[in-house]
C-alpha cells in the first residue's frame, strides 16, 4: 500500500468525463526585486477534444504565463505556482514528477510562439529542427526523420518542401516560418496545441492564411486548440469559446456566439466595442480608458474598478467571484446582469 498515490499519465485517446485540459484556480507569481509579481491570480478554463478556446486580453494580462505554466516551461524560480491545478485528462500536471511531465511536453501538449523568427534556432536547418522531434522522442533514424520533416512541411503547405527542407529559418518569409513552427508542434500529433499570438507578427493576408491552417489542422484531428490573441477580430471565425483575461484573472468564460451577442463583463464588452466593424465604418472606435493594473499593487476589490463604467461602491471593497451565470458561462462582475441587459439593448 502506497501512502501517497503518484498520479499516472493518462492514455492517449481514452476520453473520460474529464475535459481534455482543465486549468483550475491557477496562481503564478514571479519573485522580483520589487516584490512578488502576481501574474496569474486564479485562472480557470477548460478545453475539450476538437475544441478551439480563444484566450483574450490586453498585453500583460497573464495569457502567456498561463500557457507556459501548462507547458511546464516557466523558469522556477523566479516563477512559483503557489496554488491551482492543471489537469490533463484528469491528471494534475503540477503533481507529476519531471520525467513524466517531459513525456507530455511537446509530444501531447505542444506550443507555438508569436515570433517564429526568434523562436526557431538560426543555426540549424528547418528540416533538422522538425525532424528532431522524431529523432529524440521516437528514436527515428536521421534519414527517416528527414523524410518525416518533408511530409510535415507538405502538410502545413510549404511550397517545394523537398527543396527547402535543408534551408535555414532566415531564408523563409514570416508566414512560412510560422508554418514551420506549426509543423514542428504538430509533428507527434499532440492532443493539445497552444498557439500564443501566432499571427501578431504577420501582415493581414498572411494572418488569415495561418488561422485557416490552424483551423484545418484542428478539424483533421481531434486536437484541442488554445488560441491566445488580443485580436478579437480573428476569433469569431475559428473559436468555439472564449476566455477573457484581465490582470491575471478570467473575467468572462463564454461560447463565442453568446459573448458576441451579449458580453457579461464590462471589460469583455469594452473589448468587443473596440473591434472595427464593417457596418460602423467612419464611426470612432471605442477604446477602454485607463491603464492595465499594476501587478505589484493590484487595485482593491474588483481589479477592473478604476476603469469600469459600471462601478459601484461595493466594487472597490469586494472582489467579485467568478459567477456561474449559465451552464457554459462565467462572469467575474457583481453587475453581470446589468451588463448583459445593457448589451442586449
Amino acid at each position: 500500500m502506497k501512502k501517497t498515490s503518484t498520479p499516472v499519465l493518462p492514455a492517449r485517446g481514452v476520453a473520460g468525463n474529464e475535459p481534455l485540459l482543465a486549468v483550475d484556480n491557477l496562481h503564478v507569481e514571479f519573485a522580483t526585486r520589487q516584490g512578488a509579481v502576481k501574474a496569474v491570480n486564479g485562472v480557470s478554463y477548460a478545453l475539450n477534444p476538437g475544441e478551439t478556446l480563444a484566450v483574450l486580453g490586453e498585453s500583460g494580462s497573464g495569457k502567456s504565463v498561463t500557457a507556459q505554466a501548462i507547458m511546464g516551461i516557466l523558469d522556477m524560480p523566479p516563477a512559483r505556482i503557489p496554488r491551482g491545478e492543471i489537469r490533463f485528462k484528469g491528471t494534475d500536471l503540477l503533481r507529476l514528477p519531471e520525467d513524466a511531465r517531459s513525456q507530455i511536453r511537446g509530444q501531447r501538449i505542444a506550443m507555438i510562439f508569436q515570433d517564429a523568427l526568434s523562436a526557431l534556432n538560426p543555426v540549424f536547418t528547418v528540416g533538422s529542427q522538425i525532424g528532431e522531434m522524431f529523432q529524440v522522442h521516437r528514436g527515428t533514424s536521421r534519414r527517416d526523420a528527414h523524410k518525416k520533416a518533408i511530409e510535415l512541411m507538405d502538410r502545413v503547405r510549404i511550397p517545394g518542401a523537398r527543396q527547402r527542407v535543408n534551408d535555414y529559418p532566415h531564408q523563409f518569409s514570416g508566414g512560412m516560418r510560422q508554418r514551420i513552427m506549426i509543423a514542428m508542434a504538430i509533428a507527434l500529433d499532440p492532443e493539445v496545441l497552444i498557439a500564443d499570438e501566432p499571427t501578431t507578427a504577420l501582415d493581414v493576408t498572411v494572418q488569415a492564411q495561418i488561422m485557416e491552417l490552424l483551423a484545418e489542422l484542428r478539424r483533421e484531428s481531434d486536437m484541442g486548440l488554445i488560441l491566445i490573441t488580443h485580436d478579437l477580430g480573428v476569433v469569431a471565425d475559428v473559436a468555439d469559446k472564449i476566455a477573457v483575461m484581465y490582470g491575471g484573472r478570467i473575467v468572462e468564460n463564454a461560447l463565442v456566439h453568446d459573448i458576441y451577442r451579449a458580453p457579461a463583463h464590462p471589460y469583455a464588452k469594452g473589448l468587443l466595442d473596440s473591434i472595427p466593424r464593417v457596418d460602423q465604418k467612419g464611426q470612432e472606435l471605442y477604446a477602454i480608458k485607463g491603464m492595465p493594473p499594476n501587478l505589484l499593487d493590484m487595485p482593491s476589490g474588483c481589479s477592473f474598478h478604476p476603469r469600469c463604467p459600471y462601478r459601484q461602491d461595493i466594487c472597490v471593497t469586494e472582489a467579485p467571484p467568478l459567477y456561474e451565470i449559465g451552464p457554459t458561462r462565467n462572469s467575474a462582475c457583481h453587475y453581470w446582469r446589468e451588463v448583459l441587459d445593457g448589451s442586449h439593448g
Binding site: M71, I73, S102, Q103, I104, R105, G106, Q107, A110, M111, F113, D115, S118, A119, L120, N121, P122, V123, F124, E132, M133, V136, H137, Y168, H170, M181, M184
Partner: protein
C-alpha cells in the same frame, strides 16, 4: 567563397604596405649608425664602411631604400642583415618558437577559458560561479611578469626540487613540455577574458526564444544546452580567439624573456637595439600577415557556424 578570399587578400595589400612603411620609417629614424653598431668598439676602415653603406643602400634617400626593400619582399627576399645572414634564415627558427608558444597559449585559452566559462554559466549564481569569476579577476589584474616568475618558481623550480620534474624552467629543449608553463603564462589574462565572455554568451543564449522553443519541444536539458545553446553561444568566441592570436604572438616578448625562449620577441628586441632594419621590418611584416590571415579564418569560420552570414 573563393572570390571572397581573393578579395580579402587584395584588400590586405595596402594594409601590409602601410604597416611596413611605417615600421621602416620608425627604424630609419632611430638614432645611431647601423654600420658603426656592427663594428662595436672597433673603428672600421673608411673604405669598408663605404662599401657596406653602398651594398645596403644606406646612402640612398629613405623612399628609395624602402623601394629596394619592398621589391625584394615581393620576390620572397626579406634581405640580409648587416652581418650578411639572410633575414629569412633568422626568422624561420624564431618564428617556429613563437608560433609553438602562441599555439600552446591559444589552445589553453580555448579549452580552459571556454570550459570554465560554460561551467560558470551553468552554475551561475552558485558558489562555483563566484569562485571562477574571482579567479578571472585575479588573472586579469596580476601582470604577466608576476604570474610568470611566480609559476616559474612554484611549478618549475620548487616542484623539481620536490622531485617532480614536470615543467622545464627555461629553453625549448623539452619539446611540447617546454611550452606548457610559458604558454599558460602568456594565455593568462586571455583565459580570464574568454571565461567571462563564454559565461556571458551562454547565459544570454539560454534566455533566447529558440531555447524556450527547444524546451517546449520536450527535449532533454542536455540536448537543449549542448546542441541548441552551445552552437550559438560559441560564435562570439571565435572572433575573440582569432583576434587574440595576433595579440599572443606580439605579446610574447615578456614571456619569452622570463622563460628564455629564443622566439621573435627576443629577436625583435636585439634587432631594434642593433638597428637591423631588415630583421625588424621582416618580423613586423610577418606579424601583420599572421594577423590578417587570422582575421580571415575567423570570418570564414563565422560563415560555417552561422548560416545567416554568407560571403559572395
Amino acid at each position: 567563397m573563393g572570390r571572397y578570399i581573393i578579395r580579402r587578400l587584395v584588400q590586405a595589400i595596402p594594409v601590409l604596405l602601410g604597416a611596413t612603411l611605417l615600421i621602416y620609417a620608425i627604424v630609419f629614424a632611430l638614432p645611431g649608425d647601423p654600420v658603426a653598431a656592427l663594428a662595436g668598439e672597433k673603428r672600421l676602415d673608411p673604405h669598408i664602411v663605404d662599401v657596406l653603406r653602398e651594398q645596403y643602400h644606406l646612402n640612398d634617400p629613405f623612399l628609395v631604400q624602402y623601394w629596394h626593400y619592398l621589391t625584394g619582399l615581393f620576390r620572397g627576399d626579406f634581405g640580409d642583415t648587416f652581418a650578411g645572414v639572410p633575414v629569412t634564415d633568422i626568422m624561420a627558427g624564431k618564428f617556429q618558437v613563437t608560433i609553438n608558444l602562441a599555439a600552446t597559449a591559444l589552445v589553453m585559452e580555448a579549452v580552459i577559458g571556454a570550459g570554465l566559462g560554460l561551467y560558470a554559466a551553468l552554475r551561475h549564481g552558485k558558489a562555483q560561479d563566484s569562485m571562477i569569476l574571482g579567479a578571472t579577476l585575479v588573472l586579469i589584474s596580476v601582470p604577466t611578469l608576476v604570474t610568470g616568475f611566480m609559476l616559474q618558481l612554484l611549478l618549475g623550480v620548487k616542484l623539481k626540487q620536490a622531485g617532480i620534474d614536470l615543467f622545464p624552467v627555461a629553453g625549448v629543449a623539452e619539446g611540447l613540455r617546454s611550452y606548457l608553463l610559458p604558454g599558460f603564462v602568456l594565455a593568462g589574462a586571455s583565459i580570464a577574458y574568454l571565461t567571462r565572455l563564454t559565461r556571458t554568451s551562454l547565459m544570454e543564449t539560454l534566455r533566447a526564444d529558440y531555447i524556450r522553443t527547444a524546451v517546449a519541444k520536450g527535449l532533454p536539458r542536455r540536448r537543449v544546452v549542448g546542441r541548441h545553446a552551445l552552437r550559438n553561444a560559441l560564435i562570439p568566441l571565435i572572433t575573440f580567439l582569432g583576434a587574440d592570436l595576433g595579440t599572443l604572438m606580439g605579446g610574447a616578448v615578456i614571456t619569452e624573456a622570463i622563460f628564455n625562449l629564443p622566439g621573435i620577441g627576443q629577436q625583435l628586441f636585439t634587432s631594434v637595439y642593433l638597428r637591423e632594419q631588415p630583421v625588424v621590418v621582416g618580423i613586423v611584416t610577418v606579424l601583420v600577415l599572421v594577423y590578417i590571415l587570422a582575421n580571415m579564418v575567423v570570418d570564414l569560420l563565422y560563415a560555417v557556424l552561422d548560416p545567416r552570414i554568407r560571403y559572395e
